[in-house]
């Protein structure tokens, strides 16, 4: 199911089941779904915030590398996280 290959050209789309938003009370980004909420950590929130069905993995990676210049090469981390997100059905590709 989740053993899909994600490449720089892949374009992730948020599953319609979920809504992504900032929650002031939790002080983090969250994914809301029927009767539930997933609290996202900092990096997960930054990545999913750029998942819009238009940006490719390469575009997401370069935007985040520009935003966090001290973080170095992020492509491995981003692909790994998107793999997990796909396994959780948060995104489709």
């Amino acid at each position: 199911m989740s053993d899909i290959e994600i490449t720089a050209a892949s374009v992730p789309v948020l599953n319609k089941m979920f809504r992504f938003q900032w929650e002031k009370a939790q002080n983090c980004f969250v994914l809301l779904y029927p009767e539930g909420m997933i609290q996202l950590n900092g990096p997960a929130g930054e990545i999913l915030g750029l998942v819009d069905g238009e940006r490719s993995v390469a575009a997401i990676t370069s935007e985040l590398e520009a935003k966090f210049p001290d973080a170095g090469d992020l492509s491995g981390d981003i692909i790994e996280f998107l793999g997990e997100a796909h396994g959780q059905h948060w995104i489709t590709l």
Binding site: M1, M17, Q21, V30, L32, P34, E35, M37
Partner: protein, 392 residues
């Protein structure tokens, strides 16, 4: 499930009696918009004496409550009832809640819904529609809901929910009359392309408690249903179907109580049609003075009202809870259940094998073995029957 009650750790912590009333945010706000409902399900969680509480909050009062809830950190809003579709202002309430940033859930029987309304609700910002079913086939569904047309309407609406792109959660309340058809229920959910399916055995409160003898399945029925559900889970996962089957067992077959509502006044807040604020939707039955949103701010209700602080901390506990090393896990269980079965809400939930009243649960299980299914014995949830329980 969370309430399996298995002994969890080898290192019992010394009992600490704490009067700490600390609490989280009310993440979940359940708005019971009305007690009116076209159906008469004999396991309804509404109070038996609902006909005593006629008044309903106005549109503006509800919107005000929603905003106050949002300010306290609430993020999920459930429109429930009764049947929430009965409220003529539902679309305004959905729109208002959506603008405030809530994830909005409509919890409905589907009766009174049509594709036109559904599209309007979506435009207003409704995120999710949960349709409840009584059974997988028309005859049992009609018998239980007291409406012959309901099943066909529910099927039609479930298909429409999906067609309009809403996530779909189907809720099947299971009990001794329909649990043996669990395979058919699951297949129906797969056919309808549901995203989540709650196969929830009745919880015995309100009308369901009144009808417990005709509802409680036998242990053999329950084990069979759980086994079949697990087989379907494995089969569906292997096919790559992302459908999630959630199987909820009745706590009458547990030896430890559920950590009710994740703790009293910790994450959940219900407001009844007439504005009573409750830490859970059954709590109205308890001999506790609960505040009304027309008289007190939601912040005051949540943080400082005596009703919401009543069972926070564990200083209220008696034995066997007081010295129990699992008290921080289940908080003594359900106070409503303790009250209904033993007459004292400070007792341990009788589901707990440590409770001196546990025999009451064991006797209910024994009765389930002996009872003959007879729908004529149901007390249906309607205005006429409610008047029997009403004081006024």
């Amino acid at each position: 499930m969370a309430n399996t009650g298995s002994p969890c750790n080898a290192q019992p912590t010394p009992p600490i009696i704490s009067d700490d009333k600390s609490h989280g945010q009310p993440l979940w706000l359940l708005a019971e918009l009305t007690y009116k409902c076209p159906l008469q399900c004999p396991y309804c969680s509404n109070p038996l004496d609902f006909s005593d509480f006629g008044g309903e909050l106005t549109t503006q009062q509800w919107l005000d409550v929603f905003q106050q809830g949002r300010d306290l950190g609430a993020v999920q809003l459930g429109f429930s009832g009764g049947e929430p579709l009965v409220r003529q202002d539902l679309i305004q309430l959905i729109g208002g809640a959506h603008e405030m940033g809530y994830y909005t859930n409509l919890i409905t029987s589907g009766v009174g819904l049509n594709e036109h309304k559904m599209a309007e609700f979506q435009q207003a910002g409704l995120d999710h529609i949960q349709v409840s079913f009584q059974a997988s086939d028309e005859s049992v569904n009609s018998m239980l809901s007291g409406s012959k047309k309901a099943f066909e309407q529910k099927l039609k609406m479930a298909k429409e929910v999906k067609a309009q792109g809403y996530p779909m959660v189907l809720n099947f309340v299971t009990h001794r009359h329909n649990i043996d058809r669990i395979d058919r229920i699951i297949e129906l959910c797969v056919e309808l392309d549901a995203d989540y399916v709650e196969l929830a055995t009745c919880q015995y409160y309100g009308w369901a408690y009144e009808n417990v003898e005709q509802l409680l399945p036998t242990r053999a029925q329950l084990e069979r249903a759980e086994r079949i559900t697990n087989e379907y889970r494995a089969k569906l996962a292997a096919e790559g179907n992302p459908i999630k089957l959630i199987f909820v067992t009745p706590d009458y077959y547990e030896e430890r109580p559920k950590g009710c509502m994740n703790g009293w006044g910790q994450v959940f807040l219900t407001v009844t049609p007439d504005g009573k604020a409750l830490p859970c939707h059954s709590a109205r039955m308890l001999p506790i003075e609960f505040p009304n949103v027309t008289e007190m701010s939601l912040q005051e209700i949540w943080d400082t009202s005596p009703g919401f602080n009543h069972f926070r901390g564990n200083a209220w506990m008696k034995e066997p809870c007081r010295s129990c090393d699992e008290k921080d896990k289940d908080f003594g269980g359900c106070h409503c259940q303790a009250f209904m079965l033993t007459g004292d809400m400070y007792n341990a939930d009788p589901v707990c094998a440590k409770s001196e009243h546990h025999h009451l649960i064991e006797e209910a299980r024994e009765r389930a073995e002996a009872v003959v299914n007879n729908p004529d014995e149901f007390t249906f949830r309607n205005e006429r029957n409610s008047k029997v329980f009403a004081k006024g």
